[in-house]
Subunit: 442 residues, 4 copies
């Protein structure tokens, strides 16, 4: 069996145990053995990381898997000789996420970790750190693959592909979530289902759906079985009514675009009612999770982890590692360089698309042109993403403004300017490239 060394950056994340659980299963399943697991985090995260490492050690011991865990408060030497690096960091932590979710609400815009001004602020903080990680990899593990799960995943991956030499691709759990949801609703095994997916991270679309290779899109879209699922992702029956004409199943984040008003109303209601945003919720869940992880008797994943979100993320990541390590082709939906696979977008931008993965890494499968009902939205969001990457790399106030005004949820100059001022102000410790750059008064 192939053995690998895996480095996890953001190793102190509450996700890590799920990843370790997956590593054990892959070993039991004789796919590959993770002989070394290096958890890497920032110094402030050392205590959480040690808690995670302790729990992971108990899981591995119980399974009897011969894996050496180490923890590192810094990139080197944990990266040395790694075959795979998973990045799952959150620059600024939950506190920054909380800010990302609350600033937009002041301007009547949904506050969201990845979509809209919240995701924009997160990208500005994250891209320089992600680039730094990739540059360190050149020295410490130049042949390793970097699997980016760090949000906003598509934008960060585009920055890495355009501005570093890393062998990198991006992951997201939304496409696999759709697949698992449909399989569950139809009562079939997931591996008998295959999907054509095309678009951008958190804005991708299922354009083909096959059961044992037979096209079942029509049946699924008309099926009452899926009503609940489709109602939710289509944000209401009135949208479903029209989506049916397209024979396309959108990812759930279309909700923020096609139900813009409801999404902000729901969020405002949650804030007023004291429930807060998703960051508040996740902080509560994480507190609870870490107290369980610290329990020296815990040897199995606690059921509470399900609430954490990111379901199936480790499945996608480990499917890819398994395919690469064994040179065994699989098809996964990944964030990769377009190369013409998604028509109507530039060849050098990053898209979320059905891709083959084998030992040579992922390559996008050519897709049909998205219908006009969707294509324009995707093209505009991609322009926002390209401008966001440029703004973060150059520390450019002008590009940052241009990115925000191009986002479909902003679409207003005064609002973009106010948002930008608040974002730069409240994130100043994480945005050295913008330090001392004035925003014009008006």
């Amino acid at each position: 069996m192939k053995t690998i060394k895996l480095a996890v950056i953001g190793g102190g994340s509450s996700y890590t145990p799920e990843l370790v659980d997956g590593l054990i299963k892959r070993w039991q399943n004789k796919e590959f053995l993770t002989r070394q697991l290096a958890l890497i985090d920032i110094p402030q995260g050392k205590q959480r990381m040690e808690t995670v490492a302790g729990f992971a050690g108990r899981m591995l011991a119980k399974a009897g898997m011969p894996c050496e865990i180490s923890t590192w408060a810094g990139l080197a030497p944990g990266l040395d000789g790694a075959d795979f690096v998973i990045s799952q960091i959150r620059v600024g932590g939950m506190k920054a996420r909380w800010t990302d979710e609350h600033i937009p609400v002041r301007y009547g815009i949904a506050g969201q970790e990845t979509t809209g001004p919240g995701g924009f602020a997160c990208a500005l903080r994250t891209i320089p750190v992600a680039v730094d990680i990739a540059n360190h990899m050149q020295n410490h593990c130049p042949n390793a693959w970097l699997l980016n799960f760090t949000n906003p995943s598509g934008i960060v991956t585009e920055a890495l592909i355009k501005h570093t030499q890393a062998r990198v691709f991006g992951l997201c759990n939304v496409p696999i979530g759709i697949k698992m949801g449909i399989a569950r609703a139809l009562g079939i095994e997931p591996h008998r289902l295959s999907l054509d997916v095309s678009g951008l991270n958190h804005l991708s679309f299922v354009t083909g759906l096959y059961f044992d290779g037979r096209n079942i899109m029509d049946q699924v879209i008309d099926s009452p079985l899926l009503e609940e699922y489709l109602d939710k992702i289509r944000a209401g029956r009135h949208l479903a009514y029209f989506v049916e004409d397209l024979n396309v199943i959108p990812g759930s984040y279309l909700y923020y675009y096609w139900s813009r008003n409801r999404s902000i109303e729901d969020q405002q209601h949650d804030i007023r009612s004291g429930k807060g945003t998703r960051a508040d919720e996740v902080m509560r869940i994480e507190e609870s999770l870490f107290s369980m992880y610290a329990d020296k008797t815990l040897e199995n994943l606690p059921p509470e982890l399900k609430k954490r979100g990111g379901a199936y993320y480790s499945d996608v990541a480990l499917n890819c590692i398994s395919s690469i390590a064994r040179n065994l082709p699989q098809i996964e939906v990944l964030n990769v360089e377009n190369k013409g696979a998604v028509p109507g977008l530039g060849a050098n931008v990053v898209v979320e698309v059905s891709s083959t993965v084998d030992g040579a890494g992922p390559k996008p499968v050519a897709q049909p042109r998205l219908p006009a009902e969707i294509l324009g939205l995707v093209q505009k969001v991609k322009c926002y993403e390209e401008l966001t990457v440029e703004a973060a790399i150059e520390g450019s106030v002008g590009k940052a403004f241009s990115a925000l005004i191009n986002h479909p949820l902003v679409q207003d100059g005064d609002t973009a300017m106010n948002l930008l001022r608040d974002i730069l102000d409240q994130n100043s410790e994480f945005l050295p490239r913008f330090a001392g750059k004035p925003i014009p008064a008006f």
Copy 2:
């Protein structure tokens, strides 16, 4: 001198005298002689048309130009043997425009004749009528050129190019207005200025600006001479600050997109204050104009016509007729089939672009790729336009919804649905293709 027959559909428009003034000048300038001028309008517009015809007759008589005017309440036989047909109709008249401008305001969206839900409603009413005119031309004047000034000009032209056999192109006075404004500000003769223009009708951009062939974009953008003009079209100094980085001068309609909030606030203020919308204003101006036109002693254009809007429109139209009639190349900014001239848009859609015009008609000049700061917006609006054409042709509620939700000023499913219900309801007499098609309740 070449002689032509010109038919003007919507001949009773208050614009017609300006057109007649232009025809006289072209004759005096020995470019071409309009021997026959057929004014065509609907029966309800007969009286206004007769008033216009009377005034036009006095203008021609004073100039001594040998031109035979006729008026027709219906397409045939006025179209017979025409060399050129100008379409400047308004389906539903000013009353429908008033509705177009007021419905969106209820939903916090700017009410505008061509941009946003107002322009959408106008397109639904107009496209079937425009297609009918083009089909009549096949029988009555199959070789004639159709110059479409009917709004929304780009969308109507796309419908005509995709769904009829007419030799047609679209006109707008915005690009020539920018040119004349810059020339005035710089104190130079307009013919020494040339512009590269690329984009869509009411969303086009000057990407090159030349004085006697020398690139002066940098100087003009930095020039205090143009500050007032640029401030206005850029909708505020804070936008100007960033637009300078792009070296691009936007048309004034970018205001609705980049200053979305201000534009609706201004309009709401005007409505509350009793000033009303532009339709209210134009109705007042037109009443005044028609009373002047009816004055049997009036032989010259009244200065009040300037307030009517559409300045230079007749210049563009007659420049094109002159170029075609004399097979003499000129460059005008027109709405034509893209054919790859504007990169990033489909080859078969209509764009507003610098075009050569000679006897063979207009052909687009290939342009460089628009920057990401603009391209995404243009691509999304084009998808909206394509869907609007399909909705109008097919009478499709689904396509109509999809068009509205794709418009950057709407971007919300509930709002799109409400807007659509109001629009179909209040325009039902002009939308037979939508008759009896239910909009789903929710």
Copy 3:
């Protein structure tokens, strides 16, 4: 285990036993069971087909595989209920191939089964028959996949994709042959090797080569191990010298283009010396093979079959059937609709390209742009192929001439005209669509 019905059109081919051998292995390997095998051929081929069927029956019996073989002199009812149809026909038989190989030589052009005027003639004869087969499938097995191995494979597949409703893709053994050759030379197991392939059938190029996922193109191209192989496919050391700069391994048919003169000299020498062309050789081999097949004691594939050519063809075909039947993704080099996967060619043409195959069939993987050194040749040959398809479908003398003059080995009007006259004349019984269409004298 999944069970299938397979129909083989051209079932009397000498290739069939290899296919049967593969079916047995797939069953033994627990991939799928071919419960029914329908061999289909034309009435004139009945005797050969029975010989083949007899031998196949002995192979199956020896293996103990529960498969029912049937033979049919006509398409129906053999096609009924098939899950997969393999087409391996030769319209006009070896006699027509002999003619295809000899006509071009008269004009100083290589006579070849698939490349050049020989392949062109073969396509004219074959396309109408292939279209007829696909149309029959609509009635008898509308959900079946059609695997086209019939030559010229890329052109015939393009005709089927453009002019029928069949679920079809094309196969060729050249790409797998390159892979197996490299694996053998390097002494490694083939499954550890993966290739990026892009281009056209019999004109495709390996642009990426990976061993366990590591890019080994540089080493392989420089390796003395591969010298012999590369010398041959590059048609001489002087070409190898330059190909190295491209980091690309061409398929062996580049020989006809890049060593045009040598290829015709070799062939002329063979004809003069009495050795004849490949058709002569294959006829001798086939005579010998069929006498062996008829031997009632033969239960295993005779070693002579290796000389027949088409090595590994059945491996590719059965890999695809296995992937589709089991919905298990693999990557194969196939002839499929481009959809932008090979940049610089139209979206709707057929290309030979690395494709994923799973239950939903094959989909092309997006490839980087071919270098100018190769791209122009590929684009020109594709234009030849498109024109050939149109000529065969329309029975158009003009398109046929245009196809021939566009072929890089012809590139002369007089020659194209003479070739066309000879081809139409000598194939008249197979070209009813060209009957009575005069070729102009000159």
Copy 4:
């Protein structure tokens, strides 16, 4: 009237008097006044240049045009302050052209100044010199336009656009020659005719033909009036028969591709018969012309100049200068950067295409896709051209070989290698970038 300074590099050319004749006419026609005319040539050409300058002086004196002629054996200071620079050089002179025309014939390939291996050799010699001229212009006249008539015009222009900062476009007299030929055959004034032209230099195609704006392509193609003309450029009636289906009129150089065999047979016959190649003929004509030019009594263009070729070249050049100087739009067929105007070719390559010209210089008009019958040839020749530019700039033997083997008239590795050896050998004094670079033996 606008006054200009014009510099002519290759001022000693026999073409110069025609250019001077045109300058006089433009002045008489009140378009522009050439106040300074700087003739520039290499030291070896000084005597011829003085002869030309003397004759030009007499022409100007007779016309009374206030123009100051100067002659310079070197680029500076003749270029100082030029508004326009015309390049009409021949690196290696007629002797090198003679070699270019004779080497290919040894290998059964037409020897031609611009097409095939002859044009390739010419490009290798010329590109470094042309780049050097453009670089000098940056210092001496950075705002001047460079009009490149130097052959091979399209390839040299591509090198200048890709590898210098010059404001440059390329000219050719073939498209205007077709226009004038058709006008003459139809008995109409040329300015009433307009053409859509698209393709590459010496491989462009008329795809639209308008008389006073009316499409007359059908009539012209069917017209017996044009039979003689079309017969010639289509290289025989049998080609004409098919070209009619395309509704396209090719330029005359298609003869070398579509009548490859005839073209070489004709040339071999001419060589055997002692007539020689075009170089021999031109040398005889030039000797005669220069003896006339030297005649102090000659004040008008001698009729013999007509035989020199290049008819109308000065018309195109001066039309462009007139349009640029006066900022007056015209449409000319020029060699410019593609920018998507000719679909199917890269955006950054040089194409020959109908272009608008005004003060801002030439811009390509977007054209429809060329039919497959032509497109593949154009794409392949463009790849040859791109490789030729790279070979000349880099001095790369590998790129040079790749260029030659890609040329449709070569298409053979051994031949390409032999040609390359002969070309490098016989042009060594003009190819310093290739000095000491071995060509591998084989």
